[in-house]
Amino acid sequence: MSALAEIPVLSVNQLSIAVDNDGTPVPITDDVSFTIGRGEVLALVGESGSGKSVTALALMQLLGAGLRIARGEIVFETHDGFRTDVVRLGAKGKAIEALRGARMGMIFQEPMSSFSPIHTIGAQIAEVVQVHEKVGRAAARARAAELLGKVGIPDPVGALDRYPTEFSGGMRQRAMIARALICKPSLLIADEPTTALDVTIQGQILQLLRSLKREFGMSILFITHDLGIVAQMADRVAIMYSGRIVESGPVRDIFRHPVHPYTRALLDAVPRLGDIDRGRRIQPIAGAMPNIFDAPSGCRFHPRCPVRDMPRCAEKLPPRAEVEKHFVECIHGERELAK
């Protein structure tokens, strides 16, 4: 890891997000902590209902109605000395608006629903520059065209006057990346950006994100459920299960030496191209992700865990073990990490 990656851009500390359930707040993420260093890619991995997307939205104070940050801090600091706690900024006001889309950019899974269908691509990208910087319309349009060219859209100047519906899925995703990067953010939050795309187009977009990361020197929080993409994109990985990060560490450690039973089970559940020959059977994980309103006591994975130690695992949260930045929340963690 480079020395730069040691300097955090984002430090999330004990973040808990709660949903309002008839007046009583129910935590949907609990005690989530992670850091992202400069120029680093952190993959936040989890299945639906794990809380990964809601965590990403909280980083930009974009939580929907009924959701709020109950506890914790989100410290965001950039190379020019800017430092703030996003939680304190609140969801409204000039301070958070100056951050969103400028210092932090975000791209989503479905590019069609994040563009307005009745405005041109050019207007929607140039608008971001005009909101955040004191530039005229012509200059903003020129910047938009430059970015569209960078993300690989043919005839970028002509593309400015086209509408989102005239673009294919892959081109729309490129346009969304252009819009997210136009103010040179220090952190890009990418929430399943290739899930809706074909595999050959996915390859193009991942390649594009890698080269833009180098060019812009930005950090990326990459949210995905696809372990193949994690292996390809991430420097570090955090695995979420039912609202908690259960394991995190450098990508190689997580894939070579997974410790948490859930991480292991996930890796065993994915078919691989080479399996035809090896006769490997994929191992499903029994049961399903628990309902957040009815989360199990103790370790939330214990009802599905093959190596649980009852009643200990159901009684209280397992301790967090760490060896060389590889963290695990499991009663067997310390022993397994030492291996």
Binding site: T200, Q207, Q232, P271
Partner: protein
């Protein structure tokens, strides 16, 4: 082994219309264009391809869920052959007991106002075989039996679909498709809307049911690793045509079509140390209403020449039942899934 399904020169065209009231047909999209293949009894044929390749239209056309515009589909059941494409409405309804479909989205494919028991017994009481499945008790026994085989418990039968998770809903959809004991099941992206840990459950369930019930699958998916896991043979589709077909090993390890090679190289392998030499295709799939002349893949193919623009390559034998539609199949040295990832050559050589 004998052939269960024979698909011969099947085509599906959709009209393109303009205007709203006095609409005119201004052209056609060839969603499926002259596709032929057979599936042996007990076999799983995978159909892979990207969105717009026509794989879903192909699956629907085989069951006449959408009307083919040309070609024929024949099903061989109990010694007689059923000409699916020329059946009238009544006979088609009767034939449907032999061929069923599992859809992608178990949230959209189950009626929310029916209990699981009603969903599973409906094919027995409302289909063409109405009255032939015996008394209510006998029908209920069939329902309980198939539900159990699909991993659903008896007390779950009285509940409504909303009470189930995505994986369990897909089990219900599978049970519904299998309650008539069909010979052929078309699985259209049966796992792509499910979580990783649940996908494995469903893949293993489908494999298990194939064994116990002697099923034959047409397995349509874009997930190449999942297809490799369950399929004996694979057909690769691009813009409505099959560009390559063979055993899973042939197609994955010794591909002969440049599109297959690119697809294999694009799959991200869950291994941070896997050597990656992705072949990044330029551009995107052309508009299916206006496919390129000659080979349809030529606009994105790194090996294309003038010949490819002039002549459409036919799907032709390339040895050992391997079929490929490329002018240069014999000359190109393409890399398979293992070579692309720096895997051992040994496995490829044993393919011999």
């Amino acid at each position: 082994m004998s052939a269960l399904l024979t698909v011969d020169h099947l085509s599906v065209r959709f009209p393109i219309r303009t205007g709203t009231i006095w609409s005119k047909i201004v052209g056609h999209v060839h969603a499926v264009d002259d596709v032929s293949f057979t599936i042996m009894r007990g076999e799983t044929l995978g159909v892979v391809g990207e969105s717009g390749s026509g794989k879903t239209s192909l699956g629907l056309a085989v069951l006449r869920g959408t009307e083919p515009s040309g070609g024929s589909v024949t099903l061989a059941i109990e010694g007689r052959s059923i000409p699916v494409t020329s059946l009238d409405k009544r006979d088609l309804r009767a034939a449907r007991q032999h061929m069923q479909m599992i859809f992608q989205d178990p949230y959209a494919s189950l009626n929310p106002r029916m209990t699981v028991r009603d969903i599973l017994s409906e094919p027995l009481v409302a289909g063409a075989g109405k009255g032939s499945y015996g008394s209510r008790q006998q029908i209920d026994a069939l329902v309980v039996d198939i539900a159990t085989k699909c991993g659903l418990s008896r007390d779950q039968l009285n509940r409504f679909p909303h009470a189930f998770s995505g994986g369990q809903r897909q089990r219900i959809a599978i049970a519904r498709a299998l309650v008539l004991r069909p010979a052929l099941v078309v699985c259209d992206e049966p796992i792509s809307s499910l979580d990783v840990s649940i996908q494995a459950q469903i893949l293993n369930l489908l494999a298990e049911l194939q064994q116990t019930l002697g099923l034959t699958y047409l397995f349509i998916a874009h997930d190449l690793a999942a297809v490799a896991y369950v399929c004996n043979r694979v057909a690769v589709m691009y813009l409505g045509q099959i560009v390559e077909m063979g055993t899973t090993r042939q197609v994955y390890f010794t591909p002969k079509h440049p599109y297959t090679e690119a697809l294999m190289s694009a799959v991200p392998e869950p291994d941070p140390d896997a050597e990656r030499r992705p072949i990044l295709l330029s551009g995107e799939r052309p508009d299916p209403a206006h496919p390129p002349s000659g080979c349809r893949f030529r606009t994105r193919c790194p090996y294309a020449t003038e010949t490819c623009a002039a002549l459409m390559p036919p799907l032709r034998p390339a040895g050992d039942g391997h079929l490929v539609a490329c002018h240069y199949a014999d000359d190109l040295k393409l890399r398979g899934a293992l070579e692309l990832r720096g895997g051992t050559e040994a496995a490829v050589q044993t393919n011999g």
